[in-house]
C-alpha cells in the first residue's frame, strides 16, 4: 500500500471511530496514538537503525543467535544474615538450576562499616549478608567453585575491597584471577542520584572506579568491571526514558574519566555492562531495552570512536521492578513478575533476577524465591517468547516507541552534556529533582485513580489476611557477627594489618597509584572492610549529599 493510500485509509478510520470515542472516552496514560501504522516507522532505515542481531547498532540484540543457543543467565539476587546462612541459600539456588550467583550485602558492608561499628547497630545482616573480612568471604563461597560459577556483587562505594576479597578467596581455591567471571556494580554516580550508599566524594570515587577498570583489564579480563545501573533510578521513580538517559549519561562520565586517566576506550569498554529495570508496561519496556542498545552503540562509535564491536554492545542484567510489587494481595505479584520477565526476555536481556511475591513486605522466603526462579524457567522453556530473536521488531508500535524513547533520552543526554556531564548534573541536584518529580507524579496519579494498581486503588479486598511465614532475620545476627569479627581480630597478625593499612594510605595520597594491588594486599592480612574504608575516608573525605525536595 502506498503512503498516500495508508494516509487516506487512516483518515477514514479516525473519522469512523469518532463516535465511539465520544461514547467511551479513552483512559488516561495511553500512548499518544490509538493505532500505529507503517506511517509511524517510515523514517527508520533498516540497516542504520534496526539491522541484525550482533550487528551495529545492536537494536535487535548483542549476540547473533540470542536465546536460540543459550538462555539468559538466571541470576537470583540473594543474601541475608551471616555468610553461613547466605552460603546455604546460594547452594540451594544452584541446585535448583540458577546459573549465576548474585550477592546482596547488608548496609554496613555497602557503606564500608564493620558490624562492630556503633552506626551498624540494627542493620547487620538485614538487607543482605554481613561481610567484615576475608574470613566471611571464605565462608560465603564455601564449597562453591569460583572457577565455574559467575558471581554478581551488588557493591558500589567499597567495590574494590569486595572484589579484592573475591580474588583472594579464588586464589585460596586455586582458581587464577584470569578465570574469574562476574560483575561488580561499582556504579557510584547512581548512588548519589538515587540509591544512597555512597561513601567518598565524586573525584576519589571516580578514581577508584578507573583503577578497577585498569587493574581488571590486565588481571581479571573476564570480569565485568561495572554495572551501570538504571534499575535504582527507575525504582526511585523515574520514567523509562529517564532511566536509560541518566544511566547512559553516567556511562559517558565513566568513559571520560577512564580516558582522562590514560586508558584506551577499546581496552575497557567491552567489560562495561548495564543494569535495567523491567517495569509493568511490557511493550514500553521492550522498546526501552531496544532503544538503550541503539543509543549506547552510537555513543561509543560516534562520541568515543570505539573500533571494536564489543565496545559498542550494551549488555545488560535486568531485575523486575521491586517498586511495583504490592503489599496487598501479594500473590498477584507472581503475575506481575511473569509479565516483567516477558518484557526482559523480549527485550534481549543477558541475565535476569525475578523478584519474589513477598518482597513488598520482607526478604523473600525460600518458597517464594523458588516460584520466582520457576517463572523464568517457564518463560524460557514454555512460553515461546525466547524462540526467535527480537520477536517484536517490526511492530509498528514497538518500533515507533523505540524511536520515541530514544529521542527523549537523547534530549536528556544533551541537556546533561550542556551542564558539564553527569557528575555536574548530580552535584546541581538536577537528576535527583527530575526523578523526584516523576515519582511524585506517579503517586498522585495513583491517588487520583488516573493510574490503576490492582489490589491497591482498585479491586481491593476487605479484611485481607496478612501473609504468614515472612522471612525474619534473626535479631541476634548482629551480636553473633560482632563476636566473629572480634575473634578474627585476635587471631590475625595485627602487625601485618597495620603495615598493609599504612601502605594503602600512602597509595591513596598518590593520585597516580592504582589502589587495587594495595587493597588486595590489605584484605589478605584480614584487615576488615571498615578498617580499609576508614583509611580511604581519612584521605578522601566523605560525600555530602544534596538534599532538596
Amino acid at each position: 500500500m502506498s503512503t498516500e493510500k495508508i494516509q487516506a485509509e487512516l483518515a477514514k478510520y479516525e473519522a469512523s471511530v469518532e463516535k465511539a470515542v465520544a461514547r467511551f472516552p479513552e483512559r488516561p496514560h495511553l500512548p499518544e496514538q490509538r493505532l500505529y501504522t507503517p506511517l509511524d516507522i517510515k523514517g527508520d532505515d533498516y540497516a542504520d537503525e534496526i539491522s541484525f542481531p550482533g550487528v551495529y547498532p545492536f537494536t535487535r540484540g548483542v549476540q547473533p543467535t540470542m536465546y536460540r543457543g543459550r538462555f539468559w543467565t538466571m541470576r537470583m539476587y540473594a543474601g541475608f544474615s551471616t555468610a553461613e546462612e547466605s552460603n546455604k541459600r546460594y547452594r540451594m539456588l544452584i541446585e535448583n538450576g540458577a546459573t549465576g550467583l548474585s550477592c546482596a550485602f547488608d548496609l554496613p558492608t555497602q557503606i564500608g562499616y564493620d558490624s562492630t561499628d556503633p552506626i551498624s547497630e540494627g542493620e547487620v545482616g538485614k538487607v543482605g549478608v554481613a561481610i567484615d573480612s576475608l574470613a566471611d568471604m571464605e565462608t560465603l563461597f564455601d564449597q562453591i567453585d569460583l572457577g565455574k560459577v559467575s558471581t554478581s556483587m551488588t557493591i558500589n562505594a567499597p567495590a574494590s575491597v569486595l572484589l579484592a576479597m573475591y580474588i583472594a578467596v579464588a586464589e585460596k581455591q586455586g582458581v587464577p584471577a584470569d578465570q574469574l567471571r562476574g560483575t561488580i556494580q561499582n556504579d557510584i554516580l547512581k548512588e548519589y542520584a538515587a540509591r544512597g550508599t555512597y561513601i567518598f566524594p565524586p573525584r576519589p570515587s571516580m578514581r577508584l572506579i578507573t583503577n578497577i577498570f585498569e587493574y581488571c583489564s590486565k588481571n581479571v579480563p573476564k570480569w565485568n568491571t561495572i554495572s551501570i545501573s538504571g534499575y535504582h533510578i527507575r525504582e526511585a521513580g523515574s520514567t523509562a526514558a529517564q532511566e536509560i538517559a541518566f544511566t547512559i549519561a553516567d556511562g559517558i562520565a565513566y568513559c571520560e574519566a577512564a580516558i582522562k586517566a590514560g586508558l584506551k576506550i577499546d581496552d575497557f569498554a567491552g567489560r562495561l555492562s548495564f543494569f535495567w529495570n523491567a517495569h509493568n508496561n511490557v511493550l514500553e519496556e521492550v522498546a526501552k531495552f531496544r532503544a538503550s542498545r541503539r543509543i549506547w552503540a552510537k555513543v561509543m562509535k560516534e562520541r568515543f570512536h570505539a573500533e571494536k564491536d564489543k565496545s559498542m554492545m550494551l549488555r545488560f542484567h535486568t531485575q523486575t521492578a521491586g517498586s511495583m510489587l504490592t503489599a496487598q494481595q501479594p500473590n498477584n505479584n507472581i503475575v506481575r513478575v511473569a509479565l516483567q520477565t516477558a518484557a526482559a526476555v523480549m527485550g534481549g536481556t543477558q541475565s535476569l533476577h525475578t523478584n519474589s511475591r513477598d518482597e513488598a513486605l520482607a526478604l523473600p522466603t525460600q518458597e517464594s524465591v523458588t516460584i520466582a526462579l520457576r517463572t523464568q524457567q517457564i518463560v524460557a522453556y514454555e512460553s515461546g517468547l525466547a524462540d526467535v530473536i527480537d520477536p517484536l521488531a517490526g511492530s509498528y508500535y514497538v518500533e515507533a516507541m523505540t524511536d520515541k524513547i530514544e529521542a527523549e533520552a537523547w534530549d536528556y543526554i544533551k541537556k546533561i552534556d550542556d551542564m558539564g556531564g553527569a557528575v555536574a548534573a548530580i552535584e546541581k541536584g538536577y537528576i535527583q529533582k527530575e526523578i523526584q518529580d516523576s515519582a511524585y507524579k506517579w503517586q498522585m496519579d495513583v491517588e487520583s485513580g488516573a493510574r490503576t494498581i490492582v489490589g491497591v486503588n482498585k479491586f481491593q479486598m476487605e479484611n485481607e489476611e496478612p501473609p504468614k511465614d515472612l522471612l525474619k532475620v534473626d535479631e541476634a545476627v548482629g551480636e553473633r557477627q560482632k563476636a566473629k569479627v572480634n575473634a578474627m581480630k585476635e587471631k590475625r597478625d595485627n602487625e601485618a594489618v597495620k603495615a598493609a593499612l599504612a601502605d594503602l594510605k600512602k597509595a591513596c595520597q598518590d593520585e597516580n597509584e592504582n589502589l587495587m594491588p594495595h587493597i588486595l594486599a590489605a584484605v589478605k592480612t584480614y584487615a576488615t572492610l571498615g578498617e580499609i574504608c576508614n583509611v580511604m575516608r581519612e584521605v578522601f573525605g566523605e560525600y555530602e549529599a544534596h538534599v532538596s525536595l
Binding site: 548496609l107 538487607v127 540509591r195 544512597g196 504490592t326 513486605l361 520482607a362 523526584q436 496478612p466 525474619k472
Partner: protein, 131 residues
C-alpha cells in the same frame, strides 16, 4: 493566622531508599504543612536533635531496611527524653504487620505500610497532632 503544622521527615539508619520519604514530604508540604527533610543516614541522636532545633510537631520516619524494630523506638526515646512529650511520632516503610504492635507499644503513633495513600498520612496528622 493559623499556626502551620511543622513536620520533620527523617531517614534513620543506613538505608538509602528515600523515594517514599520524599513523596510523603512533598505531599505534606502540598497539604500546607511546613516540612523539613533530614536527608539520608541519620542517627537517632541526630533526628532527635533536629526535631528539637526545628521545634516540630511531628516526626515522620521512613525505613525500608528492616531496622525499624531497633531504630524507631530509639528515636521515640530520645525525642521524649528531650522533653518533647507532645510530638506526634509516626513511621512508614517496608514493615511487616507482625512488627507493628511492638512499634506502637514503643510509642510510634501509627505505622504506614506500602500502598498507603499520602492523604491517609495527612489526615492522620491533622487528627492527632497537638499544636
Amino acid at each position: 493566622m493559623e499556626k502551620k503544622i511543622r513536620v520533620l521527615v527523617a531517614k534513620p539508619g543506613l538505608d538509602g531508599h528515600d523515594r517514599g520519604a520524599k513523596v510523603v514530604a512533598r505531599a505534606l508540604r502540598d497539604a500546607g504543612f511546613e516540612v523539613i527533610y533530614t536527608g539520608l543516614r541519620q542517627t537517632p541522636e541526630q533526628i532527635a536533635e533536629a526535631a528539637l532545633q526545628e521545634d516540630v510537631n511531628v516526626v515522620a520516619m521512613s525505613i525500608l531496611s528492616g531496622a525499624h524494630g531497633h531504630l524507631f523506638p530509639k528515636v521515640v526515646d530520645l525525642v521524649r527524653g528531650n522533653g518533647m512529650t507532645d510530638t506526634l511520632i509516626i513511621g512508614g516503610g517496608v514493615i511487616p504487620d507482625g512488627d507493628i504492635p511492638a512499634l506502637k507499644e514503643a510509642g510510634v503513633a501509627e505505622v504506614f505500610t506500602p500502598g498507603t495513600p499520602t492523604s491517609d498520612v495527612v489526615n492522620f496528622i491533622k487528627e492527632n497532632v497537638k499544636l
